[in-house]
């Protein structure tokens, strides 16, 4: 039996808790600042930006035009019911909007932040009641359904509200990532630190933007998320999104019950570690692996520069979506890095012991959460970009 070549298998190094904390407090980027990492991050975010644009448009279309539609057969067509569009859809020449819904459901299920608090508030219940009353006047099926299952329609409205909020969030993020790519082309971004700073600044700029949502029933507009709710971009949608999609995530559909029975899944949802930062890129394109859908979409809009780089590595296009997933994960660490940097309680240069302690606590908290994530992709062991020819 021959010895297995060393390069056939390798496990990347994982930085320790202390190393992560130190790096955050020093203001260094989580991802190693290398030219290769820069290309991977910027170009994967550029393709992500294109895909997020489509996701965002469709999510808002679903929430507005398919509101309480019991049979939303054409919800992925954005209102274009032409034969050509339907044919392309059936031939799978389309964006995988299912992934966007998956993220929305993760947000809905984990339910953290201001948006979720509002969705459980009496004000929201009152809005729901009013909307349902109006809707039932012209919809006999829902009129039959609602008395039988009174919690069903409010839950659908909660889902529609989360859908619309995620659409608004991704609208901003899509523009941010496309602008980042443009800035890099213009030479304004020259390293990972600049990427993190660009994202952090973009998030802070969009932070106060209001998140609102109204539906039109019988020509009359009804607020689902009114301006009075005071929901804003950063704290009420972006932070819950990061919590639900980047960190917690969900065990994959179909395996949850078996894994839960085997006591492999924490009964405490807040301890979940199935998010994008914890995802294993290797099974990408396997059945039931959610990143597959996103990578399929991103792979269709991959910038040529990154594509050419992938062609020179491993199996070329053959394992392109695994490589894209790994690059995307690096990009997500940059986004997380931006969020962490932007939320330090005090400037890192502060000499005040109390401020330093607060910053240390902040960095330690994040380091704890990231300790078991895929930090092996950050390149601290110096082998992140090593690939077989």
């Amino acid at each position: 039996m021959p010895v297995i070549p060393e390069l056939l298998t390798r496990a990347g190094g994982m930085p320790s808790l202390e190393a992560l904390t130190e790096r955050l407090l020093a203001g260094d980027t989580l991802l190693l600042d290398t030219p290769d990492n820069l290309v991977e991050v910027v170009d994967s975010l550029a393709s992500y930006g294109v895909v997020l644009d489509a996701y965002s448009t469709n999510l808002m279309y679903q929430a507005e035009a398919q509101f309480l539609n019991p049979f939303p057969l054409f919800k992925y067509l954005d209102g274009d019911l032409s034969f050509a569009k339907i044919w392309r859809h059936l031939c799978h020449d389309r964006i995988n909007y299912e992934y966007a819904e998956y993220c929305m459901k993760a947000m809905l299920w984990h339910g953290t932040g201001g948006l979720d608090r509002y969705l459980d508030s009496p004000d929201f219940d009152a809005s729901c009641a009013q909307i349902i009353r109006r809707k039932l006047r012209r919809d006999p099926l829902l009129a039959l359904l609602h008395p039988l299952f009174p919690a069903f329609l409010p839950e659908l409205i909660r889902m529609a509200a989360t859908t619309h909020a995620l659409g608004q969030f991704w609208r901003v993020m899509s523009d941010l990532f496309l602008n980042l790519a443009e800035a890099e082309v213009q030479g304004r971004i020259s390293g990972i630190a600049a990427v993190v700073e660009f994202i952090s600044a973009g998030l802070q700029r969009a932070a106060p933007e209001a998140i609102t949502y109204a539906v039109v029933i019988d020509g009359e507009s009804h607020w689902v998320l009114p301006p009075e709710a005071g929901l804003t971009f950063l704290t009420d949608v972006a932070v819950p999104y990061v919590e639900a999609v980047f960190l917690r995530g969900m065990p994959f559909f179909g395996t949850v019950s078996f894994n839960a029975q085997a006591q492999q899944i924490s009964p405490d949802q807040s301890q979940f570690t199935y998010g994008a930062l914890f995802a294993d890129p290797l099974p990408t394109m396997g059945a039931g692996i959610p990143p597959s859908l996103l990578m399929q979409d991103m792979g269709r809009h991959l910038p040529e520069r990154l594509h050419q780089r992938y062609l020179r590595q491993g199996r070329g296009d053959g394992d392109g979506r695994v490589k894209l997933c790994a690059s995307f994960q690096k990009a997500m660490f940059c986004v997380t890095n931006g969020a962490i940097a932007g939320t330090f309680p005090a400037p890192l240069s502060s000499g005040d012991p109390a401020a330093q302690a607060a910053n240390h606590a902040h960095a330690t908290g994040w380091a704890h959460r990231l300790a078991a994530s895929r930090t092996d992709c950050l390149g601290w062991d110096g082998r992140a970009d090593q690939c077989l020819p």
Partner: protein
Amino acid sequence: MLTPLLLIPFVGAALLLFSPAQTPPGRLRLGAILVLTLQLGWCLAVLARFDPTTTGMQLQESFSWVPEIGLDYRLGVDGLSLPLLLVNAALTLVSVICTRDISQRPRIYFALLLTISGAVNGAFLAGNLLLFFLFYELELIPLWLLISIWGGAQRSYAATKFLIFTAISGMLILGAFLGLALFTGTVDFSLTPVLTERLAMGQQLLLLGALLVGFGIKIPLVPFHSWLPDAHTQASTPVSVLLAGVLLKLGTYGLLRFCLGLFPEGWAVLAPWLALWAAVSVLYGSLAAIAQSDMKRMVSYSSVGHMGYILLAAAAATPVSLLGAEFQMVSHGLISALLFLLVGIVYRKTGTRNLDVLRGLLNPERGLPFTGCLMILGVMASAGLPGMAGFISEFLVFRGSLDRFPVATLACMVGSGLTAVYFLLLVNRAFFGRLAITRSLDPIQDARLDIQLAPVAPRETLPATALALAVLGLGLLPIGLGRISESTTTAMAWAGGAVESVERSQLFPQAQPVHNATSGTINPRITARGEG
């Protein structure tokens, strides 16, 4: 019509052997492929000329070669040998196609493969016992060389073991053939059944015993099997394909042609014990396969188990069971060749066949997904799932044997179930889960293993794809093979049954003819027979 089936491979082998020393291996390979394609084409021409309604030997050619010792050059083909000729032609072609990167003595390598193919043709076509023996022995040395020169690290051990076992097998077979001449006092080595009028039962059993052990080594049957897993493990993939797909069939062919065909009365006496032997072989082979952690050893032990079905069918010797034996020979040839090809691909890409190490090879982008799909199809066929070759052959064997040897047949059915067990273990360990080729240690570290395996080019899986299609084709349309072989196998069963009834009616006067439900005719088989 049949001599070219010897001339084509032997002349081809000679041409390759004496080709210029600087001929590149790729050109030699191409030459071998051309020769084998011609051989396959000629086999198809023989098939076209073959009359499936005739039961005896067809397209016969003969002349008295060395009459003093009874050696006649007599060739013929019937429904038993024709499918095996086709399998031989197809699988030798496959084994040459899947030979890649042969840099060490390529001329000898390809010449040996062609020699084996020609020798196997000769053995299947021989209508004379000594001629069969000559060809049977002729394949021995080339195969020994193929294992000992182009084999793995322990090739010397495996090749020597193979040589010793097979040489003993040859000696026993030759001894039985010569004993036949000694006991009968003639040098008639034709394929005429030897009945009690010519030879006493004790002498028949002695000669039959020697043949059974001789062919039992070649098949191989437990306890003469131990050379096979070693030979397979050390042989290269093309040689394993040939060994499992073709060369083992020499043993089963000998079992049917010479043991059952020459000594039908002695066979009838031993049949219950042979059925028991078959059941033991099936169960041992299957249980041993479960215990293996080397993919190749697992597949080779599965061969040991699956060859037992043929012994069971031969022991029952009913029209249906003998047809099942023919199907099993063909389907096992195709399926085992397919499995060895796929194991070879896995080994080439990962550097290991260890099931404790291999995981998740079905990974769609970094693994070997198409190879994995073919492997799943192959193991399903081997486990006898409907729609594939394994099902129809096992069904015929079990259906044909159940009435005569219910206990042994049920035991073999358990063995068929065990096939699913060990092959699902194989698929589950090697192909499912997260991709890795290391032992599972720390789950956190395991989930961070980055695996870089070379991709499998479509041309690498082309032979396996063709075999997989053949496995499906035979499973979905078994009628073609059935038409070729049914007359011959039915005649063999009738010959055995008729003789047996005479013999039994003398031993047990109360025996009465019964209606044969499967053929719809009166079969002179006696009612007093049963298991043991």
